[in-house]
Symmetry: C2
Subunit: 269 residues, 2 copies
């Protein structure tokens, strides 16, 4: 539908069409649910992005002030704790696209102004005609494994008492496995053998695709890159079970994080 | 090293330092090897990107004219047939970074001019101070499987007689598995159950990360999206064996393509 301007125009006119306002990137939340509004409440100057159909009903994100509307504009990550998983995913996805539009008003190729295109899934340049698409940055997040032990680390900005799987951006020219090996070597000095893909999930803060993996450690001595990590150490399965039970030596990542899936999958097997 | 301007300056002065010229994105090739040059042959105005260390010797890409140098500037994909796999990967990676710099002279956020930073792994804006990094676009490429049969398709721009695994960009807000399911449903009308990750590889034309997967088909009736594919059909394992033997009904993807790995892995198991 996004490629068809007439279909998107018709979708906007559909009586079941709804818009989710994003005010300063914060979605409107009303009583722990998304604050969808009707066309009559849409601000004239709102930037609109087509999100898709929900049971045949068109859904849009709208960058606009939430003043005077029912509910409250709330930070997506804080709201994710109380929204349903489906609503949290919509809020995060909409926020990511609105953010991208607001930071891509100009063409990287020629510097001219760009305009929203393809119902919000592209911007086109008025100068050189280049088309720009939202980026999705692949990130590897991996649990280095040494038999009954797994490696967790602490970035300086983590909350106190919290450790998680190591992670880093896939760089141009790398495969996923190469990125896993490079990151564990750079950040913790660990050499890795086999890499196994576990799962992936979008993490739209602002636009990551988290790719979770297990990585077999061939060495275990930790050499920290102080710029990236302030601590890293090996944890036994018993310690991780204790972490999940709430009485471990550190705090576990929240269930919405893929690091949780990695730890849970490993600890339960 | 890229974060340390003094280290990169020292690397440039290293007697073993070499530069690979890219003329109009074409690397210098001399007698089926990369045409590395010394600093004395480097053009004054060359855009330089630090690629890394080869056995302790610094290596750079240099966007500059190749006129007067030994060898010939050649298209990366054509040259990949005769270069060693390691050299082909360096040429493709360098081309991808040069291309990105040349198309990102301006800041998407404010429209001001940007300058090369971090030894070529970033550009920074002289106006608003935003930092921009090369993008890596995750692409799923997958073999839908129905027992003894796999699905191949033909994009309109493919060479005659050539079919391959279906593929498409991972969109913002999706996981890898969701992208696999969406693409196969949109392009061929096939419903997918389980998805299994097989392998990944960079495909820097201009900047893709190809993520290869097997996808269990739950339906087999093909409904083509004419905008994307001009043909798609199921092939038996016997047919794929014949394709690899050079007497099949279509031509196989080249061994450097991940589609080859997918087909080979499936057919040999």
């Amino acid at each position: 539908m996004r490629r068809d301007p007439q279909a998107v125009f018709a979708a906007r006119m559909h009586p079941g069409a709804r818009w989710l306002p994003f005010d300063q990137l914060k979605p409107l939340i009303d009583d722990d649910r998304l604050g969808w509004i009707r066309r009559s409440d849409l601000a004239d100057e709102a930037l609109e992005i087509f999100l898709g159909l929900d049971d045949g009903m068109p859904r849009f994100a709208a960058a606009m002030s939430a003043e005077g509307l029912d509910g409250e504009a709330r930070d997506v990550r804080a709201a994710a704790m109380t929204l349903s998983p489906a609503d949290a995913a919509i809020a995060a996805h909409g926020r990511s696209l609105v953010d991208w539009h607001q930071r891509h008003g100009f063409c990287a190729n020629c510097g001219a102004m760009t305009a929203l295109a393809k119902a919000g899934y592209a911007r086109s340049c008025g100068g050189c005609g280049a088309e720009h698409f939202p980026r999705t940055d692949p990130v590897v997040i991996m649990l280095a494994l040494d038999g009954d032990r797994c490696l967790l680390g602490r970035q300086p900005q983590f909350p106190k008492g919290f450790m998680s799987a190591l992670a880093g951006f896939v760089e141009p020219g790398e495969s996923i496995d190469e990125a896993v090996r490079r990151e564990l070597h750079e950040e913790a000095g660990i050499r890795i053998g086999r890499v196994a893909h576990v799962a992936s999930q979008p993490w739209p803060f602002p636009s990551s695709l988290m790719i979770g993996a297990f990585a077999e450690a061939e060495t275990t001595e930790i050499r920290l890159d102080d710029d990236e990590l302030e601590e890293a150490r090996w944890f036994t399965k018993d310690e991780i079970h204790a972490v999940f039970a709430g009485n471990g030596p550190v705090n576990a990542p929240p269930p919405m994080a893929i690091a949780w899936t990695l730890l849970r999958t490993w600890a339960d097997n």
